[in-house]
Every structure is written in C-alpha cells, then in structure tokens.
Symmetry: C2
Subunit: 247 residues, 2 copies
DNA sequence: GCGTTGGCTTGATCCATGTCAACCGCGATA
DNA sequence: TATCGCGGTTGACATGGATCAAGCCAACGC
C-alpha cells in the first residue's frame, strides 16, 4: 500500500530522513559534490519513492520514459529482449546506482528493470532534473559524468564478452561485485549473490552450466569458497591472475 | 600543412560554409532541433576543426579530456587496450557521429580513436558545451539523448556479443552499416568497408578467419557480393533472416 | 515426515569457432 | 617488370564451451 505523505510539521522529520541531503548514499549517487543548499533543491525533486518487491518490474521495455531512478536499497537486474525471444542481462545494479538512463534517447525504456530483492528507489522526474541541472552547474556536470561512466562500463562489458574466456569473465565479475560491495561499506571478501547462475551466465555470455563449473573450479583451486549463493573470496590476487590468462 | 585562417571579411564566407549552421550533417549531429539563432551560438563554440590522416590517432587512451568531437567527414574506429595486451574495437564512427563521450567520466579518454580514412572533425570544448546547454534547453536535451543513444547502442553490442553466433553477428553488422550509410544519403546496398577483417572480428568478438568465412558463406548463399572491401547487399531480408537463426 | 520444485552440480558428448598453416592477389615500390 | 608485403581466403585440425541428461540439495507446502 502506498504511504501517504503527512502534511503536518511534526512528521516532516521522517521525510527529511529519507531525503538526498540525509541519505547515506549521497556520496555514491547523484548528489555527489553538491552544496547543502543545492542538495535541498534536489530534495524537492526527488520526492517520490517507490518500493519494488523481489521479482517485480520497476519498468518494462517499451514503456514511456519520464524519470530515472536512484536505488536507495536493494538489488536490480536490467535485461533486453530480442524479437526472436533471446534475452540478455545487461547489468546488475545496487544501492546508489542509477537506473533508466537508456530511456532518455527514445523517451521509451529500452530494457526491463527487475528487482532481485525487495528494493526501494527514488524516482527523479527527468525533465525536472534537466531543469535543475541548467541551474546547478555541479549537478549538470556530475550527471554527465554518471552517463559517461555508464558508457565506459559498457565498454568494459564488451571487452569482457569479446576477448575473455569463461573463467576470466567470472573472475572479472566477482572482482567487480566485490569492489562495489566494498565501496558501499560491505565486506569485500564475503557476500551473497542476489542472482541465479543463469542470470550470471546471461550477463557474461555463458550457459549456466559453464558458470557452475567455473565456480567449482575456483573453489578447487582455493580462490573462493562457494555455497550456493554465499561467496567468500579467499585469494583476490589469484582471481586477478586468472583474468590475464590470455588465450 | 595546416590551413591558416584569413582574417579579412571576404573569406569569412568560407568560414560560414563550414559552420554548424551550414553543415549538411546538422540533422544527424549535435545541432538537431536548434533554431537558427541557437545554431549561430553553437557555431561560436565549434570553431576548431582538425584533420586526421588515415591511421592517425584523434586521441589516445589516458590523454586528458577537454573536448568531444563531431565527425565532419571520414571514418573512425575506437578501441580499448587491456593491461595484458589484448585489445578490442569498441565501435566504428562515421560522419555526424560524436567521439569522446567516454572521456567525460574521468576527465581522461578511456579509449583510442583512430581514423580509418583521411577525416575531418569539429572539436567541441566540453565545458563550453555544458555552458551553452545550460542556456539552450533544446541543446541540453539533445545532448542527453545522444549520450543515452550511445548507451543503448552499447547494449545492442553486448546483446550481439553475448547471444549471437558468428554469422548472425556479421549479418547484424552489415545491416547496421547499411542503415547508417542510408541515413547519410549513400546507397544502402553498396559500400566500401573502411576496416580490415581483423578489425571487424575484433569488434564482433571473432577471429578474422571466421569473419572471412562468413563473408564467403553469405556470398555463396547469394545474400551479398564481396570483393575485398567492396560490399554489395543483394538480399536484405535474407540477411535479416540470418540474424534470427537462434541456437 | 514427505513430496515437490527450483536452482545447482556434474558427467558425457558434440560442434562452432579458434588455431595453425599454406596460398592467393593486389597495390606499392624498386 | 619483378618483388615484396599486407590483407584476405581456404583447409585441416584442436578445443572451449554448449548441449543433453542425470542427479543433488535446500526451501517450502501439505
């Protein structure tokens, strides 16, 4: 059920508590680098929050685009569906990351965004974001950086898909996850995967069996300990070395 | 030898001739949708042009970023180099397309841009572009669309690399080229490849031999006629059908 | 406690593409 | 005109990962 926003002053505390200016993700997310006063202007914009239950869509390919979303908590995947039924996971997103940038180009979303665990996002109406970023230089520049970073990230994935073999891909994937958990204050060495082997495989251009075998191999070699979705990284440099195994 | 810019009024005609407002690519490029007056303000910004000879770098990975480039004429590839020596072509760019968007995120270029034929580009100082797009809403929005389109394009490549087999990839590649030539007023059915089989292979995540064999196969099947870099597409729908050959 | 289900693992086999190698053809250069 | 070299083609063979199939494990409902 949607939470109604109380109008009296007393409860505005709880509103402030969930505003950008008070969000502990602000250094990872859109507000990076803004002054206090600028932050408050951004708060006005980011007023709508939305809960998305595990398995539900945040948006679907083809739907009209009018907002991007910042993940407050939880975990998402995005995937693209081809006419012939093939699909591929194009990314996994976690708290502090933005979803929906692909929709700007055509005013329609071009992929599906699906929650992999119960999640909460902040909706950022895009035209209002453009308006504010015409006024706040820092916001404008940071937003451009975020879009550009997405492009660079995609190039990394292209590299992975184009030049790496199965085990290198999985090693790169684990190291990437580990690094992103670390910058969110979680353990770099121990985490739960939110996605299935099949989803990992789809993202990495591999079949689930190949992913599973690679996990087993890494475990045999003592690089990681796997128990279903629970991963412990035992030997970071070992994984890094795996990534350069050239063909 | 660099062409010196004359200062007298008489020759300013030739300057106008090469401004955005008079550029026949303006409907494909950054100026899309701008009014005449806005166009003239953009002209001020896009004052530096640069010739890049076949084989030369427009920029290199690691170099400082301060401008994006619009291709006036010619053909480029971008590639990324991994520490271990592997590299991959991340894209081919033609007239009217923008180069360098990846540099915004870190203020450094993250890939190499190399001319595949003698080319000419317009340098667009990025901070001035941000300035102008704070004033011209249409420009801002269009620029965002261009960046977003790049993200969507990259997802398409990820899809290609992750789910398609060799012949599907090549078919998709040819159809994409054909479509882009068409929107530039060239024949959709006949064109010269600017890149080698190896570069195509690198882009598509294939070895050059595989690319070559796929070309031969397409020719045998009557979909195209190949003679080295000269391609004629004989059967568009045949190629499209090839793309859905599922595995 | 028992069956069901979805996700995961593992083995056996197959095949698309990589690898290695020979050769071709065209343009550049002497 | 002869030679060289690079890019392209083609063939023979090797192999990584896909495919097919069986079985395992943990969570969950009955």
């Amino acid at each position: 059920m949607p939470q109604t926003r109380p109008l009296n002053q007393e409860v505005s505390l709880s509103v402030i508590k969930t505003a950008c200016s008070n969000c502990n993700l602000r250094e990872l997310c859109l507000p990076l680098g803004l002054s206090l006063e600028e932050l408050e202007r951004l708060d006005d914009l980011v007023s709508t929050r939305r809960r998305v239950k595990r398995g539900d869509h945040l948006y679907r390919a083809g739907e009209g685009f009018d907002a991007i979303y910042a993940i407050r908590s939880g975990f998402f995947k995005t995937d693209v569906l081809l006419e012939d039924g093939r699909d591929q996971v194009t990314g996994f997103q976690m708290a502090g990351e933005l979803l929906g940038l692909d929709g700007i180009s055509t005013e329609h979303h071009t992929c599906n965004a699906i929650a992999l665990e119960d999640s909460e996002v902040c909706a950022i109406p895009f035209s209002r974001l453009e308006g504010l970023s015409r006024e706040i230089h820092t916001l404008q520049h940071h937003f451009h950086k975020v879009m550009s970073r997405e492009i660079v990230r995609d190039h990394g994935v292209m590299m992975l898909l184009g030049t790496m073999r199965a085990e290198e891909r999985l090693a790169a994937f684990l190291l990437n996850l580990s690094q992103r958990f670390t910058s969110r204050g979680f353990s770099h060495a121990e985490f739960y995967l939110r996605m299935t082997r099949e989803e990992i495989g789809s993202y990495l251009g591999l079949k689930l069996e190949t992913v599973s075998r690679a996990f087993s191999k890494f475990q045999e070699e003592g690089h990681i300990a796997v128990q279903q979705k629970h991963i412990r990284i035992l030997n970071v440099s070992g994984l890094k070395a795996l990534m350069n195994h050239q063909r």
